[in-house]
Structure formats: structure tokens, C-alpha cells
């Protein structure tokens, strides 16, 4: 049988490329100086969904919540083989912690028919690994975390191997289910040239609006609106319109979104200052090294 997969992805700052300049003086992150990338393990989740589709048939819907610019990772997913893409963007989503994020995502996933929800194990900006299991709880489905291999799908059951730290576990569950996928699960494919040609013009309504305003700076609001609607309907016909959902469309309870829906708050952010209390330079010769070893023995650090 065929399976409908929903893949949740995130656009993240490339934390491995943070340089001194990427931090503000007050220790906050200067996000604009960081390249935005497709969260690495979300690519593994997408790849697993693509493999399921190739083997069993079905469809793949990718969803991201973020700023309008996050549509880039949705397009990237279409280039790699996803069928449908949805951007959840709304100013009222700002300051959502993992609890509020999982609530908002659950409202979106509930609007889609699905058998399997896939997430990356964790995102490299927060490294929390919490949204997957929290989303599973909100959907009322079991979760299998740290999936490193899909063994089999058979009717309404799934068998997978998960990493359990030092070792592995093979588990079977009924569908629907939520998986979080590790970087060891597969080697994500690259974008297909044909699909890139097809989907490079896939856009969200917000991107179209920006484009229309750029092309017609003097148009009044009504004209702009009409132009945007026309462009959107043309894209929709060509299957190139990336869906854009806000919290009203999701019928989300605003108490559980954004700041009010987030129990965790930031008390303080500090930049990391690494410094030894006392340090000594040791000459790289016999005398220097022997002296250091002598001190370490005296201090009972080595015996």
C-alpha cells in the first residue's frame, strides 16, 4: 500500500560557521550574519520519506514554520522530490518555545491525511530534540526517536531500527507514527536538475506580493491585491504555489502560541568565555617537559 508522509523541516543558522563577527557585543546572536541552511538531520528525514515513496508509493508533504525566507528550504525539498510544501508564517508565532512550536505544528499536521510524520532528530540551533516527541503527544500517536534504519512497512505497521546510545533496538509500531531520524540513517540525495527547473519558480503568496510591489511601486492597494491574486492563481494552476498558512487558517488557540504559549523564558544569555585561571608556558624541550611532569606529580595529578 501507499503511504502519505509529512516531513517537518526547519531553516537554521549554520552554527558550525559562527565566527567572532556573528556574535553581537551583548552576546546575542547576530542572525543576519549567519548563513541559513536546511537543518542537516531534516534532510535525512526527507530522504527517508523519499525512499518510502519510491518503494511503496504515496505522497510527501513538507512543512516548515518560520519567517517568509524559510520558503527556501521548502523549494529545496521540492527540488529533491517532495510533492507539496507548506509554510507556516505568522508574527504571532514569534518567541515560541518547543511546546508552543509543537502545538502550532500539530494544528497544521491535523489538516493533512498522514500515515507517517518524519522529523530530523534535532535542529542544530537549539539541539533540543524535543519538538518531535512533543508533536507526537499532541497528535496522539506513538513516536520512535533516533531512527537509523527503516526495515519494513507492511500494511498498517512499521518496523524500524533505532539507536539507543551504545547499541540498537528494533521496534514495530502501528500507523500512524512519528519518527525522528538521525544523520546516520541515509545519505540525502542532491536536488534533481529537472525538478529544479520546474520548481525554481515555486513561491509563497508573500513572495509574490513582494515581487508585485517591486514591479509596480505606484500601484494602489486594490490593484496590488488583484495582481497578487492573479499571479497566485496562475502559479496554483501550474502546481507552483507554495501554501502559506497563518494561525487563523490553522484555527490555533492563541493562548498556546508564541510567547504566551511558551512556559520557558530566557533569563540571561552569555557568550562563552574560555579561560584558564592560571596558565604556564612550557618549553617544548626535555627540561621544560620534565619540570611540568614533576609539578603534576607534586600536585598529585599523576602518580
Amino acid at each position: 500500500m501507499a503511504y502519505n508522509c509529512v516531513v517537518l523541516i526547519k531553516q537554521v543558522p549554520d552554527t558550525k560557521r559562527i565566527t567572532g563577527q556573528a556574535m553581537n557585543e551583548d552576546g546575542t546572536v547576530n542572525r543576519s550574519a549567519l548563513p541559513a541552511i536546511f537543518n542537516p538531520e531534516d534532510l535525512n528525514a526527507l530522504e527517508l520519506a523519499l525512499q518510502i515513496k519510491e518503494k511503496y508509493g504515496g505522497s510527501i508533504t513538507v512543512i516548515t514554520m518560520g519567517l517568509p525566507a524559510a520558503s527556501a528550504v521548502l523549494r529545496d525539498s521540492l527540488f529533491r522530490g517532495a510533492d507539496d510544501a507548506i509554510l507556516i508564517t505568522d508574527k504571532r508565532c514569534a518567541a515560541s518555545d518547543t511546546l508552543a512550536t509543537s502545538y502550532i505544528l500539530s494544528c497544521a499536521v491535523k489538516k493533512i491525511e498522514y500515515d507517517i510524520v518524519l522529523c530530523g532528530r534535532q535542529a542544530i540551533d537549539g539541539d533540543t530534540a524535543q519538538v518531535g516527541p512533543q508533536l507526537a503527544e499532541k497528535l496522539g500517536v506513538p513516536h520512535i526517536t533516533y531512527v537509523e534504519e527503516l526495515i519494513e512497512l507492511n500494511g498498517k505497521t512499521i518496523t524500524a531500527r533505532r539507536n539507543i546510545g551504545a547499541g540498537w533496538q528494533q521496534v514495530k509500531a502501528g500507523l500512524p507514527v512519528l519518527l525522528t531520524v538521525t544523520g546516520d540513517a541515509n545519505e540525502p540525495r542532491v536536488a534533481a536538475a529537472k525538478k529544479m527547473m520546474k520548481y525554481k519558480n515555486a513561491h509563497t503568496p508573500i513572495e509574490i506580493e513582494k515581487e508585485v510591489k517591486g514591479d509596480n511601486p505606484d500601484a494602489d492597494d486594490a490593484t496590488t491585491k488583484a495582481l497578487v491574486e492573479r499571479k497566485c492563481s496562475i502559479l496554483k494552476e501550474k502546481n507552483l504555489l507554495i501554501k502559506q498558512w497563518d494561525l487563523d487558517f490553522l484555527e490555533a488557540d492563541l493562548t498556546w502560541c508564541g510567547r504566551s504559549g511558551s512556559p520557558t523564558k530566557v533569563h540571561r544569555i552569555q557568550s562563552v568565555v574560555l579561560a584558564a585561571k592560571e596558565s604556564k608556558n612550557v618549553e617544548p624541550n626535555d627540561k621544560g617537559i620534565s619540570g611540568m611532569i614533576h609539578e603534576l606529580i607534586e600536585d598529585k595529578i599523576i602518580s
Partner: protein, 342 residues
């Protein structure tokens, strides 16, 4: 979700598998003991399983005042759904103010499931916990005696302190190995309370078909001396230098992520953000530049010796002994000096 209450206990999830207590609840008890003492409340461990009562005594020896033991045949093997349901029910019944879990594969699946059901806050992978006050920016309201949940973020580039003042319990998972193991005190007495689990087969959505646990090749957390090599060591063959130095010190060989990725040594030996966090008496970093992700896993070492041919290598910022030189000359000289002295 439970209301803010100042007399709630401090809880530690007593993770066990197959009747064997993991290290993390024991590490957590040492820190949680201090939190509970500062708040003037009881420190309680929660153990779920089948035939796990004897673990309660052990948890008391390591610092718990009280242990809730929940035994049920269906709790013999951990599953997120069943464990989350039982702990959620207990949280509702007793209203603890703090609940801590190890940031193990199990804890990282279980805690978010509970947090979601309880609509409570959860901070992941904390490296430190303290009690402190917070004043809100907007209305200058003071919230006293909150749990400060300290964790690295943005790949270890910043340290964030997270709080949770309006919806309790305050929950966190804590990284393995960041808190010292306390010594057990066999004379400690505590209260053991048996609790019933309201669960049935439908709370076990998974079938565990097979499991393979392998012993870690090295126990870095327990090592008193660690000799770690980085990409600068150059090759797998040359990594023998690291093994030799570790051997003559009775220490454990370790590596940076770069050295593991280059195939010099197995991942079990990796220290840092994505490896093991260590705090040995002596840490010798050989040919490791000292990316922040690596330093996050070793900067708590009592003494740090760094050997690198680049005088500007970041590892020198934390080192107590800095040796700028060729590791291929320095390491043999160290081995020689150690053999002569001891």
C-alpha cells in the same frame, strides 16, 4: 499543567534498564540535593519498572530523601507512552516544583512527551542548574527561587539561562557526565513509597522485536586521566602516540570530533558537544585546535595540558600548561619524563 507552588518537591527520574540503574540519575542526585536543600524541600527519586524496589535503597544512599516506586509487569521494558503516562499521573498527584531527567536517548524521548501532556516547560541538555531570582523586564515582577536552567545553545557558542516562572513543574533534561558522581552513603535512611500504575496494553504501542546493547569501548566519564588527540596527529598510525602516552599514565585515549571523522579512532572515544562530557583530573590535548564544541566537553577538567604547533590555537585559552611545539617531539619527551619520574 500545575500551579506554581513553593513547597513542591524536587524530583529525579531514576532511569533504569533491566533492573540496572543508569549513571545519570546518580549524577543528578548530587546536584538535585543542593537544589532541594536551598529550597528547603524533599529530594525524591521516581523509579518505574518491574522488580525494581531494591533500586530505591540505592537512590537513598546517593542522596534521595524519598523514592516513589511504581512496579507493573507492563513497565518492565521502557516505552515512552507508558512511562510518560505514569509519571504524568504522579506529577498531577504530588505537584513537584522541579522534575529532572538525564539527557539520555530515553530521557530525551520521555521528558518532552510528559512536558507536552502537562503543558509544562522543558529545557534540554542542561549543563548546570542553580536556584535564583528573576525580575521580569516588562512589569518588574520578582520571581524568587526559580530553577536556573543553564545550557549551551547555537552549537555551544552561547550559554543560555532558561527559567520557567508561570507554569510548573520546572523540568529539564541534564547532559550526561556534567555533574560529578556522588559517593554513596550506606547509612542514609529514606522513605520508600509504592505507587500503583494505571496502565494497560494499549499504553504499549511499540513491540520491541530485538535489542543489542554493546559495552562502550571506553568509559571516559570514569577516567582520571585522559589523553586526547585531534586532527593534528595526522594519521591513524601516528595516533599510536596518543595510546602510548595514555598507557604510560594509566589514562584513557580520547579524540576530538575531527580525529574521529578522519577515522583515527572510534566514536566511543569522542569528547565534546556531540561526544562525551568529561571532567578528569588531567586532560592532555594533543594536536587539538579546540573548537568551542570540543571545549564544551572538557573545559571542566582539573588540569589541562595542551600541545599544539599553532600558538594561536583556541585550546590554549583553557590550558593550564601550554606547549607550543611539534607533538611528534613533545609526546615522546613526555613519555620519557613520566617513565623517569615514576
Amino acid at each position: 499543567m500545575i500551579e506554581v507552588n513553593r513547597d513542591g518537591e524536587v524530583w529525579v527520574f531514576g532511569e533504569q534498564h533491566g533492573g540496572r540503574l543508569e549513571d545519570t540519575p546518580i549524577e543528578l542526585l548530587s546536584k538535585a540535593r543542593r537544589l532541594a536543600d536551598t529550597l528547603g524541600v524533599k529530594l525524591t527519586a521516581v523509579v518505574l519498572g518491574n522488580n525494581v524496589k531494591e533500586l530505591a535503597t540505592k537512590l537513598i544512599h546517593y542522596g534521595a530523601d524519598k523514592v516513589y516506586v511504581v512496579e507493573h509487569p507492563l513497565l518492565r521494558v521502557y516505552q515512552a507512552n507508558s512511562y510518560a503516562k505514569v509519571i504524568y499521573d504522579l506529577i498531577h498527584k504530588y505537584k513537584p516544583q522541579i522534575v529532572l531527567y538525564g539527557a539520555t536517548v530515553t530521557g530525551r524521548g520521555l521528558a518532552p512527551r510528559i512536558a507536552s501532556a502537562a503543558k509544562a516547560g522543558l529545557t534540554a541538555d542542561c549543563t548546570d542548574l542553580q536556584i535564583g531570582d528573576h525580575t521580569t523586564v516588562k512589569d518588574k515582577q520578582v520571581h524568587k527561587n526559580l530553577m536556573f536552567q543553564v545550557r549551551p545553545a547555537f552549537g555551544g557558542n552561547i550559554i543560555a539561562t532558561i527559567i520557567n516562572y508561570d507554569r510548573w513543574p520546572q523540568m529539564a533534561t541534564v547532559r550526561e557526565g556534567v555533574m560529578p558522581m556522588p559517593e554513596p552513603d550506606g547509612s542514609r535512611k529514606g522513605e520508600i513509597i509504592e505507587e500503583k500504575a494505571e496502565i494497560s496494553q494499549k499504553d504499549l504501542p511499540l513491540q520491541i522485536l530485538a535489542e543489542h546493547k554493546r559495552a562502550k569501548k571506553v568509559n571516559l566519564k570514569a577516567a582520571r586521566i585522559i589523553v586526547a588527540g585531534g586532527a593534528g596527529v595526522g594519521s591513524k598510525d601516528n595516533f599510536q602516540l596518543i595510546w602510548d602516552l595514555a598507557n604510560c599514565l594509566g589514562g584513557a585515549p580520547a579524540a576530538s570530533r575531527a580525529a574521529v571523522d578522519l577515522g583515527f579512532i572510534d566514536h566511543d572515544h569522542q569528547v565534546g558537544q556531540t561526544g562525551t562530557t568529561v571532567r578528569p583530573s588531567l586532560y592532555i590535548a594533543v594536536g587539538i585546535s579546540g573548537a568551542i564544541q570540543h571545549q564544551a566537553g572538557m573545559s571542566q577538567s582539573q588540569k589541562i595540558v595542551a600541545i599544539n604547533n599553532d600558538p594561536d590555537a583556541p585550546i590554549f585559552q583553557t590550558a593550564h600548561y601550554k606547549i607550543v611545539g611539534d607533538l611528534n617531539e613533545v609526546v615522546p619527551k613526555m613519555i620519557k619524563a613520566i617513565k623517569e619520574k615514576s
